[in-house]
């Protein structure tokens, strides 16, 4: 029964991790800190970017709605624009092992190269802890955290919930709009929008 205490500790840790996070979903509240590993196995912690604007993007390469924004170059262009203004972009994959979109580090690296993904880090969350803590429901699902670690935006990438790339041209890119408002010191005018896409392929 030596495993029991460690299991208990892990459970308590998971609960302790999960419970304050539920509140972290709310705009205007402190965004919950987290640690995840990137494609190279390096640990990345949210709080290490304190003082910078951080964009979180939930990703699943097999989802047609993600494809809409990558095939068209829209997501890469948004990532580039964000980083040009000094923001950090974390792409998070919460796909569980065996589910659609789950990747190994090597597969992810190959994908980053082929699709020219411009995010600062590509992170794995196969247990879905961070995804569930933030209430990520869809791919893509976007969050913006300002320099004071306050959650200022959550929702879809834009306001055209379709899989048709032709709609990107006429859509309002909520992330770009929020970033430019943050840059000029304004309040984010659309702080919450409906996320759209495939469901995040959590383990359970």
């Amino acid at each position: 029964m030596r495993n029991l205490p460690s299991f208990t500790v892990a459970t308590i840790a998971a609960i302790a991790l999960a419970s304050p996070l539920a509140a972290a979903q709310k705009n205007g509240a402190i965004a919950q800190d987290f640690k995840l590993t990137d494609v190279n196995g390096k640990t990345i912690q949210l709080s290490q970017f304190r003082g910078k604007t951080v964009v979180l993007e939930w990703h699943n390469p097999g989802c047609p709605f993600v494809s809409k924004h990558y095939s068209s170059g829209n997501m890469q262009a948004t990532q580039k624009a964000a980083r040009q203004q000094g923001a950090v972009w974390l792409t998070i994959n919460s796909g569980a092992k065996g589910k659609q979109g789950h990747m190994t580090g090597a597969e992810a690296k190959a994908l980053i190269a082929t699709q020219n993904i411009q995010s600062t880090h590509y992170l794995f969350d196969a247990k879905g802890l961070v995804g569930k803590a933030y209430g990520a429901k869809t791919t893509p699902h976007m969050y913006i955290i300002d320099g004071a670690e306050i959650l200022v935006y959550q929702g879809g990438i834009d306001d055209k919930p379709t899989a048709n790339p032709a709609d990107i041209r006429v859509a309002r890119n909520h992330v770009l709009a929020a970033l430019s408002e943050i840059k000029s010191g304004d309040k984010v005018s659309v702080a919450q929008a409906r996320p759209y896409g495939c469901s995040v392929k959590y383990a359970s």
Binding site: G62, S72, G98, P165, S199
Partner: protein, 695 residues
Amino acid sequence: MTFDFRIFSIMLVFAALVFAPAAEAQNRLGNTELNVPATLMAESQQVKAGQSVTLAFVMEPKPTWHGYWENPGDAGIGMSFDWTLPAGVTAGKPQFPVPDTLLISSIMNYVYKGDYAVLVNLVLSDKARPGPLPISVKSEWLSCTDEICVPEQDELSITLQVVGNEAPLVLDKRFNGFRAALARPLGSEAGFAVSNDRFRLSIPLPANVEIAKPYFFIKEDGIVDYAAPQKFSRDGDRLILETGARGDELDTITGILKIGDHMGFLLTATKGEVAMTGLPLANDGAKTEGNASLLFLALGGALLGGLLLNLMPCVFPILSLKAISLAKAGGNETEVRRDALAYTAGVVLVATALGAILLGLRASGAAVGWAFQLQDPRIIFVLLALVTAIGLNLAGLFELPNLNFGNKLTRKDGASGSFWTGALAAFVATPCTGPFMAAALGATIILPPIAALIIFAGLGVGLALPFLLLAFVPAIRNRLPKPGPWLDSFRKAMAVPMFLTSIGLIWLLGRQIGTDALGLSLIFLLTVSLILWWFGGGQIKGLSRGALTSAAMVAAILGGIIALPGEEAMNSQKLANTSAATLPSEVFSETRLSALRASGQPVFAYFTADWCITCKANEAAAIQRTETADVFADANVTVLMGDWTRPDPEISRFLEKHGRAGVPLYLYYAPGKEPVILPQILTVATLTDLVTNPA
């Protein structure tokens, strides 16, 4: 609610990552490999200027695939429509059937797993000229399995024919089924409140409407946490929901309240205060422990209810005499116990069998309740003959050798006699169960069938309990009065409650079949009684007239059954009876309406449903009133009533024709004039003024 846990068992492995741009795949038009293929159909190929025609997008998901409701829930996308229509044709809003829930990894999806049809009304302008009318629409929708999603689209077209006003229209019958799957407007407004991250909704719904696995599908996003469990409670004529909230930006919300398979109501709610009151409803979101405790609670209720049934006027005489006979046989323990067990077996078997039939009927979609067997006049007649015969037997008119109601328990066939006494007691007792058993029997609807059957058996055990106690606890048996000459008087006195039961059954029969048919039935009943009298007379003289009596009895009862009116007559009688209270009405049909109109009769037509609280309020306050009935009778107004409790295609079409999606609808047709649509809230004056002060 269909929480689908199949995901846990179907762990399909999708290892291959498809990086090929989905944009190409999704632009395939008109291909047959769609996972949720769509077909465009029209209810009628012919259309007329100034009228509307209903189109259906018939969606047929392949196995394991599903499509989405207009609000897809946490993930997914609703369906879009891009119409190309000739001038003068406009397309209405799409109407979606009642959706299902699909919860995958705590992400809620509002979906359709089986075939479904989305309906859209096209309206033609008055100026449409006869000829072909090409309709085309580009539609996009999302098709998903539990694992993957594919955006799909198709360009669908259909060419209708505009025809002259006199041309007959042929309606596609399949649309009746499509319409029946739609949610119907509830008619009364609901209220909602958001506070402390809780969303509450108070829905007006009459207390007697049965609901199973309720779920509220909200149409607007950002208010309700879709994946949060929904807790319901009932407080009189209100159904109250509490679940997790997401936000409170809106003052008005809309959605579908689902209360059973394919049974849902469209409702609108405005912001206000909502208190969580009333009795909580269990639903399948509840834990197994919840169900287990519900089972024990219901079982306890059933036992107690069964016990109380022993005191019912229809059961007590049989049982008390049986009990005293048991006491008399006190010397022989084995025999007493055998009899009690046989009796219990009879009771439990019949109670369980009735329960099983009830569950079976429910599963097949019939809206039946407990004591459903008393809804059939033939069964009532048999029961009436039986109860009357028992009464005559108790009164001493004759002795019945096989059923030991008297003091003849010592006969050899005691055990089988006891069994049949038990079976009879359970059968006769069911109509008395209602008030005592409502809660316990209500639970049988929620519980799985096996648990439900256990409850029905529990009811039987409760009914048999006094007997078992008598048989197995001699101390109790010894306290019973010793049989003696007084027993004969007691037995005769017990005939009174039996005859009272007969009167109750006659009343019930009369309500179902009308007084004419009732008269005929009573003649057969008299025949039965006379035969028994003659049989009893034979017994006194020591003559055996058993075989002849049995044959004559069977003939008389069969005659009584055959003489009973058919089901149709019974239904119309039932309808007439429901309103016979004050304002009699006929069943609504368009043919009847036109006939009445042609003959220059004033007609008042009203459309109602048992679940519509506004309808019921109007009926109580304005329609079923003596003032209204008197004025209508004086003016010779014929009243037509359309009951929409269950979907009825003719009524649906009629409502639609009058610009209504639901009930109530009140119409008054003055002779030779255009019909007047009356307001949704009626008063006696509104109705009487129609006749006395025509506008």
